[in-house]
Amino acid sequence: MLPSEKKQGSMLDRLTESVLRRIAGRTSRRDVLTKVGGAVAAAPAFMLLPVSRADAATAKPKAQSPFAAKAQAKDDLACDYWRYCAIDGNLCTSCGGGTHTCPPGTAPSPTSWIGSCYNPQDGNSYMIAYRDCCGQDSCNEVTCLNTDGDQPSYRPMANNDIIWCFGTGTSEMYNCSTAAVVGRAS
């Protein structure tokens, strides 16, 4: 068993767990993760779902990183805006979109990577879905690279290098990233 799985799961952890169960039926998450496939294993789609929410599990109602300690809640066009604690790329707010709105001419992905960011205004931490807006090449207005909780691509749900443009109905061309609040982290 992984050391991180010993900890208490977060709300999102429990949430996605239950969603995962509905989809996977009798296959538990643990089974999916440890299943070793030959050439034709059929279950890889589940890698898009959170495989571990340890970062959520360790979330505290206090700033949990240097980024969080300096974050602000006023200017969503700046890289130190609180929601952007794990964003990598162009801020959609600078590209004609908003914090959870894609610019016209692009489409949001229903998939995303997930961060946990501290809001200095109310002192809570939130789960943030970094959904990419896709279909046009890079918008290049305000570009940020924040890495709180960013894990390698073998932890896809916590990785900000992946082009999260699956299922947009457009090409998988990356334009910008949004940062939608999807729940409380603690």
Binding site: V19, A45, H100, P104, P108, S112, G169
Partner: protein, 406 residues
């Protein structure tokens, strides 16, 4: 109408995954909202739409010289100095806006495998409010040349788009914007570019110093006339980026030395006696290529001129240089009254600019760029005072398109 969508090589599996994943996202949001914990905001993703375009909403064309296959057209709110969105405009692209500003067209060229494979010359049509692509017609060809406004044009009523091609012969493709079909390709041997007039005619500038004037008859058949030769391309060529107005067919052909040929385009084009930009500013006229060393104020740049129709004002980028400096950016914009032929204003620019644009309303804004940084300057067209500076908006900003220009 050809209108490809992204296809995955694992078609049905991909579709299944897509619906599955969409479902997960939805469930996640719903479940969050149901949870007992106090959650201040739970946000679903959406897509912005644009308000109807104002006279200060504009398209800025970026040819991205360093990465030509990623050209783009930016939609900018010039009042706020903010980017509203962008669409691709690949490899020597061109852009025209429909007369009512509800749609715009991008002429572009792609290759199936980036730099290889089948070439696609395309005319994409976008809805201005959503930037959604609504047509994506494959063209017979289009000219691959550093983009000039007049490589692509639209008729006054928006019924025809004209695509200049050079493959390698010169021709103009006429696209019916209702059917999205190329209805014909009109050869214009020895001539280039499209200066449209009215609803079914255009002129081209020719190598022999004439204008070729093409009328498309009610039967759809083109007929062509030529004006007499009125300029000498090798001694004092006319800038391809000279401004014109489609509605009434008026054009102001500006030569390298600064002669302005006011022209009424049409089957029987009438070319006026030229006047001089320098003389209009109280200076002596500039000499032609026979005196290549003489340094004086000259027009120059890429999109080196713009017109404010209702004010009868001609904006020209001016710099000090010798004869063959016609592509040097302007350090100043000189504004002329097209009726008196006199300079009425002279404005210093924040940095020399290869392009100038102007809006068509009563409180016009003027646009320039810094070639080295890609900064986009939004200036008061009456004073030259800076209103906004959009830092590094793009790579190679070559011209702007604003509502009401045609």
């Amino acid at each position: 109408m050809t209108f490809p969508h992204s296809r995955n090589t694992k078609g049905s599996r991909a579709a299944f995954l897509r619906s599955l994943l969409g479902g997960v996202a939805l469930l996640a949001v719903t479940a969050s909202a149901r949870a007992d914990e106090p959650i201040p905001q739970t946000e679903q993703s959406d897509i912005a739409t644009l308000a109807p375009w104002s006279p200060h909403t504009l398209l800025v064309v970026d040819a991205v010289y360093q990465h030509g296959k990623d050209g783009r057209a930016y939609v900018v709110d010039a009042d706020k100095g903010r980017l509203l969105g962008m669409v691709q405009a690949a490899y020597n692209p061109n852009v025209v806006l429909s007369p009512d500003a509800s749609h715009f067209f991008v002429g572009e060229t792609t290759w199936e495998r980036g730099n290889r494979g089948e070439r696609n010359d395309l005319l994409a049509e976008y809805e201005s409010s959503t930037l959604k692509i609504v047509a994506d017609e494959k063209l017979p060809s289009r000219a691959l040349v550093t983009p000039k406004r007049n490589n692509l044009a639209i008729s006054a009523d928006g019924s025809h788009v004209y695509v200049y091609q050079m493959s390698p012969g010169s021709a103009v493709e006429v696209v019916d914007t209702a059917s999205h079909k190329v209805t014909q390709t009109v050869d214009v041997p020895g001539c280039a570019l499209v200066y449209p007039w009215g609803n079914s005619g255009f002129s081209s500038l020719c190598a022999d110093g004439t204008l070729a004037n093409v009328s498309i008859g009610a039967d759809g058949k083109p007929s062509m006339t030529h004006s007499a030769a009125f300029f000498e391309p090798d001694h004092d060529g006319i800038f391809e980026q000279s401004p014109s107005v489609t509605k009434d067919g008026m054009a102001w052909f500006i030569s390298y030395t600064g002669k302005v040929y006011e022209t009424k385009l049409g089957a029987d084009a009438v070319i006026g006696k030229p006047w001089s930009l320098q003389e209009g500013a109280g200076m002596k006229a500039a000499p032609d290529s026979s005196k290549p060393f003489e340094v004086t104020w000259r027009p120059g740049g890429w999109q080196m001129s713009a017109l404010h129709k209702s004010n009868h004002e001609l904006y020209v980028l001016m710099h000090k240089g010798p004869f063959w400096s016609h592509k040097d950016g302007g350090s100043e914009v000189w504004v002329y009254d097209t009726e008196t032929h006199k300079r009425v204003r002279r404005m210093s620019l924040p940095t020399p600019s290869p392009m100038v644009g102007v809006t068509q309303d009563d409180h016009p804004l003027m646009f320039t760029t810094d070639e080295d940084t890609g900064d986009f300057y939004i200036l008061d067209a009456k004073t030259g005072k800076q209103v906004h500076k959009m830092k590094a908006l793009g790579g190679s900003l070559i011209f702007t398109v604003a509502p009401g220009e045609g």
